[in-house]
């Protein structure tokens, strides 16, 4: 307690928040359980893990820093193409691909963050959308490099660490994607509970006031935007490596928009919302399109409307409201 130097400041609640809770440990047992329970669905499960990482990256910038984006697929796509091009040019060790994708996407995030900072929400929507559209058309045009609409082919990955080769059943892909997701989630959790993360939440709540507290607002926003971009890039690289194909669709507007839907569905600003939203959305998508391949989007739309009507702040918000109502619920 000697660290409390500010009079009247008690860091205990913040420290409690940063500690791992039982429910969280239980949550991370789910992927392991899913591996055994749905052993024949691992291709889908690894895509869920990848999309969850992608949603997590948007949650960092939207849920914590309050930067709205309609073009987050730009970084996802950059990561995907980076990993793909590295592999086709003979650099096909998966972890190196992830690192390369993270660096390139982070760089792009850093550069574009200055554009994004110039303006209010509506401007940001336009700028992010614009950047993503430009990249999409670039990939569309540079067919000799990206393969254009045909997609980038001929990607062959080496076994991970020279040990674990990707298989048809998607076992390696699933474990790989889930481990990467877990590590990056752990890191994200550290970030949002650090002073840096608290500063971001302050900016989100009241941007005008933060400079008065001595927080360098722009530097913080540039920082988190870059981190978010790197996360999205890694998610894109994972998709490339596990499917061994890059289609131009990784940069498309629907991918950005769907991601926003997922995040709103799960609940913003809680990290777990991103993960749960992805699981709910992709499972619903999978089941509904299996039942009715032609008109499944109707039911998906209905589900979204229902969640927004009856569970404010998405599934996470609904869960929290439920937990509060339970007798004897811990505060």
């Amino acid at each position: 307690m000697t660290t409390t130097t500010l009079a009247g400041f008690d860091p205990a609640p913040l420290q409690r928040q940063a500690r791992w809770q039982h429910a969280e440990y239980a949550f991370w047992l789910l992927p392991a359980a899913a591996y055994f329970a749905f052993g024949d669905q691992l291709a889908l499960l690894s895509q869920i893990a990848i999309t969850a990482l992608f949603a997590l990256s948007l949650d960092l910038i939207l849920g914590y820093a309050g930067i709205v984006s309609l073009g987050h697929a730009a970084f996802f796509g950059m990561g995907a193409y980076t990993a793909g091009l590295m592999a086709t040019h003979g650099w096909n060790e998966p972890l190196a691909g992830l690192a390369g994708a993270a660096v390139i996407a982070a760089l792009a995030g850093f550069v574009t963050s200055f554009l994004v900072l110039r303006g209010s929400d509506l401007t940001r929507l336009m700028v992010t959308l614009g950047v993503a559209l430009m990249l999409f058309e670039l990939a569309n045009k540079l067919t000799s490099i990206t393969g254009g609409v045909d997609g980038l082919q001929g990607i062959e990955m080496k076994p991970i660490l020279g040990q674990f080769a990707f298989d048809l059943y998607g076992k390696t892909a699933f474990i790989y994607a889930t481990l990467v997701l877990f590590v990056l989630f752990w890191l994200a959790r550290r970030i949002v509970h650090s002073p840096f993360g608290l500063g971001l939440r302050g900016i989100h709540l009241n941007m005008a006031r933060m400079p008065a507290l001595g927080t360098p607002v722009n530097a913080r926003l540039v920082g988190i935007y870059t981190v978010g971009a790197a996360y999205a890039g890694i998610a894109g690289a994972l998709l490339t490596q596990t499917t061994q194909f890059v289609s131009i669709d990784v940069l498309s507007f629907p991918r950005s928009a769907e991601l926003l839907l997922i995040l709103v569905l799960g609940g913003t600003g809680s990290l777990y919302g991103a993960l749960i939203g992805t699981v709910v959305f992709m499972t619903a998508h999978h089941l509904l399109s299996g039942i009715n391949p032609q008109y499944w989007q109707f039911w998906l739309g209905a589900l979204l409307v229902l969640v927004v009507l009856f569970a404010r702040d998405g599934v996470m918000g609904g869960l929290r409201a439920l937990a509060r109502r339970l007798p004897g619920a811990a505060k």
Binding site: N140, L168, T243, F245, V246, S247, S289
Partner: protein, 389 residues
């Protein structure tokens, strides 16, 4: 206790191996875009597949046929198509993969067929190189070069000297452009301009103006069928390119029956080369189109539904030959060289490339009994895919 357990297990194994024989249905997994911008592809192909089962029976080589459809919308996202193919193999335990509306879907799924050793019947995707991506791929549709070369030689023979080419910027477009150029210049023609337009386009106005200024004898066009084609045709008429004496030649997917009515009279006078027309005169096609209209009164039969229909016929004949064995190698071996009379005419599977060999017709778009139709007036018989020679 132990003996009981062992005998139970032995019984289970015996049952499982017994169950895998004759009585087991043949599962065919269709990967098709059923929603999104290319939903019409999925609709037409699955119409053809279902029509075959309804008219020719759903027992192939003594085994009942079970169809599982997966929507790989938008159809251009290879990762989605590949995952669905993987799922069909691993989870739904399909014996045969089929469908594949667009090239990226087929390219991305090819490694799944190779790794799982499952036959893969491509029912539309038309880039020439697709069949080279896995030894288990057999194609029942067509290839772009196959449909392109005949119109190029026809043009050269019919006083068209200068041609401007406009193609969509993706695999099939490049195939069409390359093949047209090759055949046309070899026959003494001249290419006076080339444009590759983005696939998910746009506005054709600047291209149309450029074409008008260049004054070619004809424009060779390849666009994926759909809204773009309609937009181009309308613009072509509105800007008076036809009146300026510029002919429009294309592959037959441009005035495809599925969108021909929407194109309206601006399609009249178009000259195209293609492997299937609803107006093809043969008893097989008459029976086919009649059955089609009975089953789907609101749609028009087109080349995609025929490819779905023929794909099923191919599977049925192969399984008859192999007595219901769907093993990848045996399937492909049996499919090689197979030939039959389809609604589009005589077709066969090239034993060397596993690609389709068929007659390509030159047609003019005309009005027959108040309905726009592609009327065949010339043909190149038993034409192989020139893209692989």
């Amino acid at each position: 206790m132990k003996t009981l357990k062992t005998s139970l297990i032995a019984g289970a194994i015996a049952f499982a191996t017994f169950g895998a024989h004759a009585a087991d249905p043949v599962r065919i997994g269709l990967v098709l875009p059923m929603t999104g911008p290319f939903a019409a592809y999925g609709k037409q192909i699955s119409n053809g597949v279902k029509l075959y089962l309804a008219t020719k029976g759903d027992t192939f080589g003594g085994r009942k046929v079970e169809i599982i459809v997966k929507d790989d919308s938008p159809g251009t996202a290879g990762d989605v198509s590949k995952r669905l193919s993987q799922e069909l193999v691993v989870k739904d335990k399909v014996d045969i993969l089929a469908g594949f509306g667009l090239t990226p879907a087929a390219f991305a799924s090819a490694p799944v067929a190779t790794e799982a050793r499952k036959p893969m019947v491509v029912m539309n995707a038309a880039t020439s190189a697709i069949t080279t991506k896995s030894n288990y791929i057999v194609r029942s549709s067509h290839t772009l070069p196959q449909d392109t070369a005949p119109i190029a030689s026809w043009a050269a023979k019919n006083k068209i000297r200068k041609v401007f080419t406009l193609v969509a910027d993706f695999g099939p477009g490049h195939d069409a452009e390359g093949q047209f150029k090759k055949t046309f210049t070899a026959a003494g023609g001249e290419i006076v301009g080339e444009v590759r337009s983005p696939v998910k386009n746009p506005d054709f106005a600047p291209f149309l103006q450029k074409i008008k200024d260049t004054r070619p004898d004809a424009v060779f066009l390849f666009l994926p069928p759909g809204a773009e084609t309609i937009a181009f045709m309308k613009g072509f008429t509105e800007r008076g390119l036809g009146q300026a004496g510029i002919k429009l030649i294309a592959t037959g997917d441009l005035p495809d029956e599925d969108i021909l009515d929407a194109m309206g009279d601006s399609a009249l006078g178009l000259t195209t080369s293609f492997h299937y027309s609803e107006a093809h005169k043969s008893p097989e096609n008459k029976a086919y189109t009649e059955a089609y209209y009975k089953a789907y009164p609101k749609d028009r039969p087109n080349y995609m539904s025929v490819a779905g229909y023929d794909g099923m016929h191919l599977i049925a004949e192969v399984l008859k030959k192999t007595n219901g064995n769907t093993d990848g190698d045996k399937f492909v071996e049996a499919a090689k060289g197979m030939s039959w009379v389809s609604p589009r005419g005589k077709i066969s599977i090239d034993p060397a490339t596993r690609d389709i060999v068929q007659t390509v017709y030159i047609r003019k778009t005309e009005k027959l009994a108040g309905k726009l139709q592609n009327v065949e007036f010339d043909q190149v018989a038993d034409f192989k895919d020139p893209g692989k020679q």
